[in-house]
Amino acid sequence: MAVSTAPPSTTRGQGGPSTRSAALSRTRRRPDDTKLALLFVLPAAIGLVAFYFWPLLRGIWLSFTSWDLLSPAEFVGLDNYRQLISDPVFWNAARVTVYYVVLNIGAQTVIALGIAVLMQRLTSSSVLRGIVLAPFLVSNVVAALVFLWILDFQLGIGNQLLEWLGLDRIGFFTTETWVVPTIAAVNVWRHMGYTALLLFAGLMAIPANYYEAARVDGASEWRMFRSITMPLLRPVLGIVLIISVIGSFQVFDTVSVTTGGGPVDASRMLQVYIYDKAFAQFDFGYASALSVAMLVILVVVTFFQYRLTRAGQSDLN
């Protein structure tokens, strides 16, 4: 499982003098790298505490206050949370967001995995890799604007295509049934290459001799994919999934530029609602409570994901 659980017996390297590492100076005990680890983790930890933890604590504190950004915050105890529980817009937002995440990540992962496998097996051309990654070069906002136009009911080439094919035009961003899948599709377009590249790096770490051995044994491609690729890709896939889900939950730019939460709350995702409360309505205390709620959801989801995918372990070692 974890890497440095080398059983003491193979570490017959009690050998040479180590310059700094505590590990070698102790010959029979398990290596303890605490001092070194602290050194290595220190810069990242500074960033963590200063720019993530401190704001997090402050944000949690604010969720118990009423604050309008421009005058001092007043403590109100659990009022914000009581309001949250009975807030239909919040529950709608939570539901819509979960629906969106499922669609988005589901499609994105499958497509990205497919692309990664194709990149690994078909061709290692870096031109192709570059093209596939290209959508990530376009900012969120611009991508949303471009698709807003391409999928416009009347003027969009997308609907024009539908008409040529003899189908009805679809209000992609303007009907309640289509709006969330459309926003999910826009984000899939933008992120599939990025995700594919990450998975590709993971695929590359799988030694080819496994495949060779399996082929010698007469396994089919599907069997190899299932028994070799997937298990060995699991740690990378797991972490990519976790990060994608977390990012997907916090979708904002795409929605804000295309629908602003409409039509009629059908695309009012959590982050959109939070921003509106925080910066437009100057109700930062309540927005903080909403954010804490979102955080809790994310923690729970991530926890289960981490367990299910056993992303903390590697099968290669």
Binding site: L56, G130, V132, T302
Partner: protein, 334 residues
């Protein structure tokens, strides 16, 4: 794993995989792009699998490229004629004015007449600022993240999992929590309107890079590390001389993606910059978006700006892509 020889023959194995593909037997080919529908008929001699795979790849490329074509076509059109010919596949009333506006080469009156904003753009300066910010952040962020990833993957210490969990938690911190405190901190440090102020929150690490690299560092074979330890290398030396070189591909991947993310970052640099001194390209390109409540964007300028902003990244990628290719398949032994 006593696969020393096997991995040494890896590039050859890839070629052999090519031959295998020809007979439709390479792994994964049959999985297609949109799902793992089985094409698993290993004995079918026709390259069905390969044909299908290329077809799927073709569709993916088409879907990926078409919006870019649309962006290019709109960038070369003039704003006034766009609405009248909204679905035309060719640029309408072709003109270079969109690009001229991006580079600040069009006079204010002409720009306004064309539908652009009257803002003056100091393009090269913004480009330079973007390069400085993205490069600096990428270098430091990836380096520090790699260090932390090493500590989480290859070092043993008390509380390792707890601290790792803390980093995982940081990934979920809501954006509105970090925005104002970071801004206040930057102001207190006197770094408003300074490139360093823009860089500061991202300089130390990003949780994503830590996790991603940790997964790869986990895969570095224990035997190699132990062999190095036997030889008297310190853990620090192992980090620099063993783990990092063996992980060039994931590090390069993470670096490129970090660079792109920093390059396209909009909101934070917008907050921190007040004058051209610290304005980066993406913020400057905000000049092409809708300037008034119900106005539309300067379409041709915006599309031209998108292409121009993406260009340096394409250049960067094409330089580094070769490095990735040269190192693919390396799984660490020798």
């Amino acid at each position: 794993m006593s696969d020393v020889q096997a991995s040494a023959t890896l590039p050859v194995a890839a070629d052999r995989a090519d031959d295998d593909r020809a007979s439709g037997r390479s792994p994964g080919t049959g999985s297609g792009g949109t799902g793992r529908d089985r094409q698993a008929r290993p004995r079918r001699p026709i390259r069905w699998g390969k044909v299908l795979a290329w077809a799927v790849m073709g569709v993916v490329l088409l879907v990926t490229i078409f919006p870019f074509y649309w962006i290019l076509r709109t960038a070369l059109s003039s704003n006034g004629a766009l609405y009248a010919n909204a679905t035309s596949l060719l640029p309408v009333d072709p003109t270079w004015n969109g690009f001229a506006r991006v580079f600040g080469a069009q006079s204010v009156e002409d720009a306004i007449a064309d539908g652009g904003s009257g803002a003056k753009l100091d393009f090269w300066r913004y480009l330079g600022n973007s390069v400085i910010v993205a490069t600096t952040v990428t270098v430091f962020q990836v380096f520090f993240s790699a260090m932390a990833a090493y500590a989480f993957s290859r070092l043993r210490w008390k509380g390792r999992d707890l601290v790792f969990g803390a980093f995982l938690l940081s990934l979920m911190v809501p954006v509105i929590f970090t925005l104002l405190p970071n801004f206040l901190l930057v102001k207190q440090l006197g770094l408003i309107d300074d490139l360093f102020g823009i860089m500061l929150p991202s300089l130390f690490m990003t949780p994503f890079a830590i996790f991603f690299l940790r997964q790869f560092f986990l895969n570095v074979p224990k035997e190699v590390e132990e062999a190095a330890l036997v030889d008297g290398a310190s853990k620090i030396a192992i980090f620099f001389k063993l783990v990092i070189p063996m992980s060039t591909a994931p590090i390069a991947t993470v670096s490129i993606l970090t660079y792109m993310t920093q390059w396209n970052d909009y909101f934070w640099p917008l907050m921190v910059s007040y004058t051209d001194d610290s304005r980066v390209l993406t913020v400057a390109l905000g000049a092409f978006r809708a300037q008034s409540p119900s106005g539309g964007p300067d379409w041709s300028g915006l599309m031209a700006a998108t292409l121009v902003a993406a260009l340096p990244m394409i250049v960067l990628f094409s330089i580094f892509a070769k490095r990735i290719v040269a190192n693919i398949g390396f799984n660490g032994i020798k």
